[in-house]
């Protein structure tokens, strides 16, 4: 379990990082917190010629409010999503999910950008990004663009980030007074990737569900928006019958993986239980 030899670069600007990647003939990897990449290198699942350490690029840091959006720099570490007051207030699902992401030592190193760039389907932050409807700021040598979360997750470990591109920031539309949200997950042990997890952001007007983003993770190749379950709730009161309808709709939304230990039927069952509990929580405060 020793990584293959690689060379190491430490750029200090985004442009320098992008150029270094281009110069490597595409045989390079960016490294941020290293909490997913380093194990992959050790297992020789990845063996790039060049490791480009982006952890020393100031442009990738910082958390600031801009025109109704919270811009969170890609290098923001997991532990900061837990402690930062702006995130707690304006991007609450990142804050609520953070304690469930790995363990303190890993949260001290792992970055929000790294997690969302990697897009592990069982990860909390990518799913919460989808639930909050964030926009991902992605840079390449010809400029920068913002991709809505709904268009960002493509397939297993595959996102709108093209080879060589950098995720520079996450833009979160700040939550409004009419918003309600809830997060929870079912993991065998605290800190593990969840069997099933969910984050919900609902816009409640006059006790009715005006808008809702209902995201599940651990149930497919990407975090999944349960759109049929959303349809079952939109415009309705969050009462028991609406919740049951949303739970029933889930089997149309999800096609989870099937293995002996967690059969697909179990994931759907657990997703329903979790959804019921989270909607119940939202209904209580709504």
């Amino acid at each position: 379990m020793k990584a293959r030899a690689f060379s190491y670069a430490r750029p200090t600007t985004v442009v320098e990082a992008l150029q270094t990647f281009a110069a490597s003939g595409d045989d390079a990897s960016y490294i941020a917190g290293g909490q997913s990449l380093v194990p992959a290198l050790a297992l020789r699942l990845q063996a790039p010629q060049v490791l480009i350490d982006i952890a020393h690029i100031p442009e990738l840091r910082g958390i600031a409010l801009q025109d109704g959006w919270l811009r969170i720099g890609a290098l923001t570490r997991h532990c900061e999503t837990l402690s930062d007051p702006l995130i707690a207030r304006h991007a609450p699902l990142f804050h609520d999910a953070a304690p469930y992401v790995a363990h303190p030592a890993i949260r001290n190193k792992g970055t929000l950008g790294g997690s969302i760039a990697l897009a592990d389907p069982a990860s909390e932050f990518p799913a919460m990004a989808l639930a909050m409807g964030v926009e991902l700021e992605i840079a390449n040598l010809s400029g920068s663009r913002r991709v809505p979360a709904d268009e960002y997750f493509i397939d297993l470990f595959q996102t709108a980030i093209e080879p060589g591109e950098l995720l520079t920031a996450i833009h979160v539309p700040v939550v409004q007074p009419s918003h309600r949200w809830a997060f929870d997950e079912l993991a065998r042990r605290r800190g593990d990737y969840a069997i099933v997890g969910s984050g919900i952001l609902a816009d409640m007007r006059d006790e009715l569900v005006a808008q809702i983003r209902l995201v599940l993770f651990g149930v497919g190749n990407t975090p999944v928006r349960a759109k049929r379950a959303e349809d079952a709730l939109r415009g309705r009161q969050l009462d028991q019958s609406a919740i049951v309808a949303a739970q029933a709709a889930l089997s149309d939304d999800l096609a989870p993986p099937d293995d002996e230990h967690t059969p697909a039927a179990m994931r759907i069952h657990l997703a329903r239980v979790l959804l019921g509990r989270l909607l119940g929580r939202i209904a209580e405060v709504a």
Partner: protein, 791 residues
């Protein structure tokens, strides 16, 4: 601490005291010296090319390109290593009819489990060795893999080792007679089929060895992460043809072993062979992935069992059928039959009944070898027994405490024997049961359980009695022909400054052996424990002995230390008598002083005696030869094993919608005889319970149909973590063994022995309102949901 004076308030009264480990601070400060810290001049590193197949013929090996890679010093195959190493066979004579195939460091023509090492690549660094290993090409012809526990016995299944004739390693039977008649006439019969998954030790420090062979003197030094240095000294000497006196095995700081590090592994033997081929030190440290695919696994049993009771709820008989699959061959030198043997001999042993029939089949399959791991056989034996007892309680309408109190062997019935042949000197099941009941506030918990059920909260209470085998005599391995010692040896010296060195054959793996040996020597010699240095883990510096396994460090090693200390004290007193012109029986040693035995008045310091003995022997009376070093060996006699006993309880809450279990609390009341250090005994209990709860809820080596381990990493194989573990409350009942002066028995395996049983009963108790039941470990959420009919 109470104010009243107790026997602990005498000077140097260490036995029974919670003294902290002297080595804890050093280890905490990062000053431990584990194998991986050892760097020798000219040392090389080995990496192995491993089989991707569970069963295949090796057609060809092409290492041409690899040989030319940077830093590569040697690439060796099975044939190369066979030239320096004689094969080993993991059988013991007292398991009549058992069979297994000869093993070599690397296979000659066939691989029998996925991950088996095939080619060794030695290079300047481990990274370079891994680079070159990737370039070695091995061509295989795949053979059908035998995976299923039943497949191994089904006619027509491919035979893994045709030379053995079939896939059966061992078949054992116990039958006290008339079982069918007894069951036919019983008022109640309960039965169940149990499944126990494979799991593995997951020590913090993986397996590791630095083998350093010097051809000039035919001398081998193996720095080896093992719990049994003497066993390996013997094995290296015999299998590599080196005189025993030239083989030194050093076990420095060990990061956990739990039985896993006392077996012979192919990679370790290969590393020794490579050092011989190269005449240079070679290091092998397993990485975590290698640990999962090559460390021994344990358990893997399918047990069908039934219990017969009379109308009063008295157990009258048990009938058991156990099948266990142990991998493609039997482990060496302790074999892979011991676990099954203990399962079918321990079942039912806390109880009075005397009618018993059991059938044990040990079968081969294409998975990694299985062998002894903490609490060998016990967790299975007691999960089966205790679950059936709870089922019998439900059937007869008796409370689980009541049915146990009716059936446990009475505390005044000893000595007695189990129908399986085990002999008990003196146990305390009823005292433990009574203590547990009060410790856990059983009646209140039952009331709370009933109350919470009305609110759809499902809690369960599970109880499990157990016995534990400890202080094994030669009946364990020696009689079967294994060169594994049941005795231990100690050498104690008083240094010229009056300090004490105790070199002893029992070993320190983090469990506190050195601490208790220091306590015992301090108490029986009469010196402060701070002045005692305990030396372990080096065959060159300590006498031959069994070291630690099966719970023997305190019971046998401790007794050895006690007797050595007493002998040395006699010498000291006799010498002091000469110097002081006093009758020795009027003298004693306390806190490093020779004192007047009656009044305690200090006469002369031990350091002064030592100074005179070592530097001014001219002042001693003529003919006096001071003996400030003594050697002592001790082998257990009397009962073949010193059984301990105890009882555990588990309190859980099952989320019946998700199948998730919250473990609320765990209790242990145990009787390991004389408690030398309550702190360390409690640590052993807690650590053992956690390993047992791991087996009950989390840990399982999952293989697919092709014999691939599918969860061989710490991300996928779930070890129990602090967050999921409950508070564990412990109480002691002390019934010292009379076979030794110390009176100590083992305590290292008791926690693991019955915590799975208690947990199994607790979960079943929780889901009983749904008429659901579960009989498979680990009890994962999916299995619980299936039991509840929710998926």
């Amino acid at each position: 601490m109470s104010d009243a004076l107790t026997s602990l308030d005498r000077p140097n009264s260490y036995i029974g005291r919670s003294v902290p480990r002297p080595n804890a601070k050093r280890l905490l400060a990062g000053r431990g010296r584990y194998i991986t810290d050892i760097v020798l001049p000219r040392m090389l590193h080995v990496a192995f090319v491993r089989s991707p197949h569970a069963h295949a013929r090796i057609v060809g090996i092409d290492a041409e390109d690899a040989r030319k890679m940077p830093g590569v010093r040697l690439i060796a195959t099975g044939a190369d290593l066979a030239k320096v190493c004689k094969p080993w066979v993991g059988t013991l004579d007292h398991f009549k009819g058992m069979k297994s195939t000869p093993q070599l460091p690397l296979p000659l023509d066939k691989v029998v489990y996925a991950g088996q090492a095939v080619v060794a690549v030695v290079a300047d660094t481990r990274a370079l060795a891994e680079d070159a290993a990737e370039a070695v090409l091995v061509e295989y012809e795949e053979l059908p893999a035998v995976i299923d526990i039943d497949a191994a016995r089904t006619p027509g299944t491919p035979v893994i080792s045709p030379e053995l004739g079939d896939n059966i390693c061992f078949h054992g039977k116990i039958d006290t007679g008339d079982i069918d008649t007894i069951f036919a006439g019983a008022a109640h019969v309960v039965e169940e089929e149990f499944h126990f998954g494979r799991h593995t030790a997951v020590t913090m420090e993986p397996r590791a060895i630095v083998a350093d062979f010097d051809p000039n003197e035919m001398r081998l030094t193996a720095h080896h992460a093992t719990q049994t240095p003497y066993q390996f000294q013997d094995i290296y000497a015999r299998h590599f043809g080196i005189p025993e006196a030239n083989v030194r095995v050093v076990a420095p700081d060990i990061g956990g072993s739990f039985g896993m590090k006392l077996h012979v592994y192919h990679e370790d033997m290969a590393t020794v062979g490579l050092s011989m081929l190269l005449g240079r030190p070679v290091k092998y440290v397993a990485d975590r992935i290698e640990s999962f695919v090559t460390d021994i696994h344990a358990r893997d049993h399918r047990v069908r069992a039934r219990m017969a009771l009379d109308s009063e709820g008295t157990i009258i008989a048990m009938d058991v059928d156990d099948v266990t699959a142990v991998g493609p061959f039997s482990a060496y030198p302790r074999t892979s039959v011991v676990e099954g043997n203990q399962v079918f001999r321990l079942i039912g042993t806390p109880y009075r009944f005397q009618n018993y029939r059991a059938d044990l089949q040990v079968v081969f399959q294409n998975k990694v070898q299985m062998s002894q791991y903490r609490a060998v056989g016990h967790p299975i034996a007691f999960a089966v027994t205790e679950r059936l007892v709870d089922m019998a309680a439900a059937r007869t309408g008796l409370d689980p405490v009541e049915i146990r109190s009716r059936n446990l062997i009475p505390d005044d019935a000893y000595p007695c024997a189990a129908p399986t042949g085990y002999k008990f000197e003196s146990l305390s099941h009823h005292a433990c049961l009574a203590r547990l009941r009060e410790l856990m506030d059983y009646d209140r918990l039952r009331a709370e359980q009933a109350e919470l059920r009305r609110r759809n909260i499902y809690r369960g209470i599970g109880i499990a009695s157990f016995v534990e085998i400890s202080n094994p005599g030669p009946a364990f391995y020696g009689v079967g022909g294994a060169r594994i010692s049941s005795q231990d040896g100690a050498v104690i010296t008083i240094t010229p400054s009056g300090d004490v060195r105790c070199a002893i054959s029992v070993t320190e793996l983090g469990q506190g052996t050195e601490t208790i040996v220091g306590q015992i020597v301090g108490e029986h010699l009469g010196v402060d424990r701070e002045r005692i240095k305990v030396i372990t883990g080096d065959t060159e510096n300590t006498p031959h002995g069994g070291a630690v396994w099966a719970c023997r460090g305190a019971g046998i090693g401790g007794e050895t230390a006690l007797r050595a200390a007493r002998k040395l004290k006699e010498n000291v007193i006799s010498l002091a008598g000469s110097i002081l012109q006093e009758q020795p029986d009027r003298l004693d040693v306390r806190a490093g002083w020779i004192v007047d035995a009656a009044s305690g008045r200090q006469r002369i310091e031990l350091a002064e005696i030592a100074r005179i003995a070592y530097f001014r022997s001219d002042t001693l009376p003529p003919g006096t030869q001071a003996q400030l070093t003594v050697a002592q060996h001790f082998a257990p006699q009397g009962f073949p094993f010193a059984f301990t006993n105890g009882i555990q309880a588990s309190h859980v809450e099952v989320d019946v919608e998700t199948g998730f279990v919250k473990i609320l609390k765990h209790w242990v009341v145990e009787d390991c005889g004389r408690v030398i250090n309550p702190l360390l005994v409690d640590e052993q209990m807690r650590g053992g319970v956690v390993q047992g709860l791991g087996a009950a809820f989390f840990e399982e080596c999952v293989y697919d149909d092709n014999g691939q381990l599918t969860n061989g990493s710490l991300a996928d194989y779930l070890v129990p973590m602090a967050g999921e573990m409950p508070d564990i409350e412990i109480a002691h009942v002390e019934t010292p063994t009379l076979d030794t002066e110390l009176g100590a028995k083992g305590c290292g395996e008791a926690g693991t022995a019955a915590s799975p049983a208690a947990a199994l009963n607790a979960v079943n108790d929780a889901i009983a309102p749904f008429a659901a039941s579960i009989a498979q470990l680990p009890m994962t959420p999916s299995r619980i949901l299936k039991a509840l009919g929710r998926i």
